[in-house]
Amino acid sequence: MISKTRTHQAALATENPEFYLTDKDHHPEGSTMLGFWLYLMSDCLIFATLFAVYGVLGRNYAAGPSPADLFDLPLVAVNTAMLLFSSITYGFAMLWMARGAKLQTLSWLAVTGVFGAIFLALELYEFSHLIHAGAGPQRSAFLSSFFTLVGTHGLHVTFGIVWLITLMVQVSKYGLTQENQRRLMCLSMFWHFLDVVWIGVFSFVYLMGVLG
């Protein structure tokens, strides 16, 4: 394995034009990232379907409240900021991981988890507020599709945090091993992907909804 890496690096130095082809043969675990990317793409289709449902049903208020009556844009802005902050802090964790600094990686992962938890808390507050105001998922087709779409995203964030805590325990127990680095990279993709989906949510659901 080591000698292979060395010959590979030697090949690199001579500017082997077949770099990307030879590269693939060395580490079978390299396919994990591609596999995880394919999972994310299929997850993307789930969200696309829910967006389509919201796009179709989002104006059917059943004589109930409309988005402009319900949505609190400052709260959504804070929520968006939390998710964006958690994305950049996860980026910092990855940079420290690349340097092999365990403590800093763990600290930034913890900060990421806190931002994610604040995001979830604000979302749950919004949901409970809506349900108490009589605008629960059963009120209208608009609210059903709203709760399904935003709730699915919230569930993803919840599982992302569970995964984050699991990996923090793994890293603190076993260090930044190759396996843990690979897992952290998968979670990195998952976390940033959730932020991408949230861009769609705040643009299409909240901002367009309030715009009317």
Binding site: K24, W37, L45, F193, D195, M208
Partner: protein
């Protein structure tokens, strides 16, 4: 991402004898890359929120187009700076999967909205009173 399959070996070797700056390893991105992405995202988030909350533009249609357009740009920014997408990673398979997914998502969204809008438009108009008395 091009260099990532052998990145772990590189780091294990690198830890001991040189503090590497993280600047050349596309798999983990670089500090500069993350900050660029972050600043762009903040700007691209702030503008649509400001547009809608202040009502700076009278035309609702133009505001809507701007909100969706800036959202699309921000998604591209996230893809490049946070998800490190590029046409070469995994021998081009990630970008192929992404393009395929974008095509599917486009068909799904545009098709659903188009068909359901036409179904709606071809229904008999209903007054709110008729709606209330529906079974």
């Amino acid at each position: 991402m091009s260099s990532h399959p052998h990145a772990p070996a590189h780091h294990n070797a690198g830890d001991t004898h040189h503090g590497h700056d993280g600047g050349h390893d596309a798999a983990h991105g670089s500090f500069k890359g993350y900050m660029t992405g972050f600043v762009l995202s903040v700007i691209l988030t702030a503008i649509p929120f400001w547009l809608v909350m202040s009502g700076a533009i009278d035309s609702k249609l133009l505001t809507a187009v701007l909100v969706m357009g800036l959202g699309a740009v921000q998604i591209v920014v996230h893809m490049i700076y946070f998800l490190h997408m590029n046409p070469r990673s995994e021998g081009g398979w990630t970008i192929m999967a992404l393009i395929f997914t974008i095509v599917l998502v486009g068909i799904l969204l545009a098709g659903s909205l188009w068909i359901m809008h036409h179904l709606n438009a071809n229904m008999m108009p209903m007054s709110p009173e008729m709606m209330k008395n529906m079974p």
